[in-house]
């Protein structure tokens, strides 16, 4: 479904990704782990068409996305929930969701998708006339996920959806991701909450300083000594709590 091969990307002289190769198959949940600054956000932005790779290919169902502008990537069925949510704060919940269905591919399904989003997040239906910037962080994250779902994606990519949320809300969001996945949408997830995302994911990749250094099933990686030491041990705790 998504095949990334030997991807290189740089900001000026600073190398951000080198030789990244990974794939997401239909119906999978794939997690991408790695410390801050490893290039996780860069990789997602490159797939979404916001950044141009220097070399390598991003192939989606046989088509190279490398030169496609971001709004056309959405038309192909890939939607990104960006880091920090990036909602339109001066607009209402429903306006944000409606904009999610801007792509031509999703226009016909707008009402069905809206019902689906409201079924996943009933609180959004109650708040639909409210300005997004007046919502709590958790509710804003729901709008962000909902806006991406409005584009009828076949692959949903999320950049740190749990950042800054209360633990209960983190669990709720991850549960919704599992639910979305069961409806046939593949999920590519970048997440600080390593334990939770490895439990959720079918497979995971580990990205460090721009290179893929590990790959495996979620269950295997949970037992992997390097992963345990680097991401689940005291170091991970330190990073998670920003100590």
């Amino acid at each position: 479904m998504l095949e990334i091969r030997d991807l290189d990307l740089a900001y000026g002289d600073a190398r951000a990704l080198s030789g990244v190769t990974l794939s997401v198959k239909p119906g999978e949940i794939v997690a991408l782990l790695g410390p801050n600054g490893a290039g996780k956000t860069t990789l997602l932005k490159a797939i979404a068409g916001l950044l141009r790779p220097r070399a390598g290919t991003i192939v989606w169902e046989g088509e190279d996305l490398g030169r496609l502008p971001a709004h056309l990537v959405v038309e192909r069925g890939l939607a990104l929930v960006p880091e920090g949510r990036r909602l339109f704060g001066a607009m209402t919940v429903e306006e944000n969701l409606a904009l999610g269905a801007f792509a031509a591919r999703a226009r016909g399904d707008r009402q069905a998708n809206l019902d689906r989003v409201y079924a996943l997040f009933p609180v959004l239906r109650e708040r639909r006339r409210q300005l997004v910037r007046q919502l709590s962080g958790g509710q804003q994250q729901m709008v962000a996920v909902g806006r991406a779902l409005m584009a009828s994606p076949r692959l949903l990519m999320l950049d740190e959806p749990s950042l800054g949320l209360a633990p209960l809300m983190v669990r709720a969001i991850l549960e919704v991701l599992a639910q979305i996945n069961r409806s046939g949408v593949a999920v590519f997830l970048v997440e600080q909450n390593v334990h939770a995302s490895l439990t959720l994911a079918h497979r995971a990749y580990i990205l460090e300083t721009g290179c893929i250094v590990g790959e495996g099933s979620g269950a295997d990686l949970l037992q992997d000594p390097h992963v345990r030491r680097a991401y689940l041990g005291p170091l991970a705790a330190r990073e998670y709590f920003r100590l």
């Binding site: 971001a70 709004h71 959405v74 339109f88 607009m91 904009l99 801007f102």
Partner: protein, 289 residues
């Protein structure tokens, strides 16, 4: 007392046109992050457009709005395609600098063109009903200016509805707030830029038409109108259509008040005082988001 009230009323009416002039500038600046310093020249062109339609075909200036609006929309599309479309490829800081240079160049060209076509003399459209006025409690309200104020308000209301309910209107607002997030929802932001610029130019053309009826135009009014529009944009802040209109009314009344209290020459000073004061005290503007 009546004289002061009369002057304030006239100030309110020119203020409506300041508001209309500013709304177009604000839309372009808010969405493209490009400061079009030739906005006043586009207003001037709109005025001459209506003047020509009147002088050559005897078309009533208010009716000519129906032609001036689409024509300036097309002009906006052409200007974006030829000039401003290249500016938006740069990052935001470079954009403002480059747009200033392009805007000044365009302003000079349009000014020279207007002098060539219409000479440097003052013109205004002399309709049969130009002198008509209604009396209201000792005040004399020129009908033409009152109609201009009402039309300015109508156009701004129309813009508001467009931005609120039209699919691309929503796309324009989204692009203004966060263009990357807009792209991620499938919006072609280049097209949103193009549409915002064209609509801004159309509003400038309409403002020019209304200026040419109730007031007068000459090839040099551009800078003055750019300045007024800029003051109103700073005063009102970005992101609120009606807020910008209110800002225009406020500037018109404030100018009239200071002219009445301190004398005519001070009319132009108050705007600049407001400009500096708002930048110092509330840089986001009164209604800015």
């Amino acid at each position: 007392m009546t004289i002061l009230a009369q002057q304030l009323t006239l100030g309110l009416m020119i203020g409506g046109l300041y508001g209309l002039a500013a709304v177009g500038l604000s839309l372009v600046f808010g969405v493209l992050k490009v400061l079009n310093v030739a906005h006043g020249e586009l207003i001037m062109l709109g005025g001459y457009g209506a003047f020509w339609l009147f002088a050559l075909f005897g078309l009533d200036p208010f009716a000519s709005l129906l032609l001036v609006l689409p024509l300036s929309l097309l002009l906006g599309l052409a200007l974006y395609g030829a000039l401003f479309g290249f500016v938006v490829r740069a990052d935001e800081e470079t954009r403002v600098k480059n747009s200033l240079l392009i805007g000044f160049g365009l302003a000079l060209v349009l000014h020279a063109l207007a002098v060539r076509l219409w000479t440097a003399d003052d013109r205004s459209i002399d309709t049969p009903y130009a002198g008509a006025a209604i009396s209201l409690g000792g005040l004399s309200i020129p009908l033409v200016r009152l109609a201009s104020l009402a039309l300015a308000f109508t156009l701004i209301g129309g813009l508001h509805l467009l931005l609120k309910h039209w699919r691309w209107g929503q796309a324009i607002r989204a692009t203004a707030e966060d263009w990357q997030a807009a792209m991620l929802t499938g919006i072609d932001v280049r097209r949103a830029y193009l549409l915002a610029f064209a609509i801004g130019t159309a509003l400038a053309g309409a403002a020019g038409t209304l200026v040419s009826v109730g007031y007068s135009i000459n090839p040099s009014i551009g800078l003055e109108w750019t300045l007024k529009a800029l003051i109103v944009v700073v005063l009102a802040g970005l992101g609120s259509t009606f807020g910008t209109f209110v800002g225009g009314l406020f500037l018109g009344v404030a100018e009239a008040a200071s002219a009445a209290v301190f004398g005519g020459p001070y009319r132009e000073v108050v705007g600049l005082v407001i400009f500096v004061a708002v930048l110092l005290l509330r840089p986001r503007g009164l209604f800015g988001q």
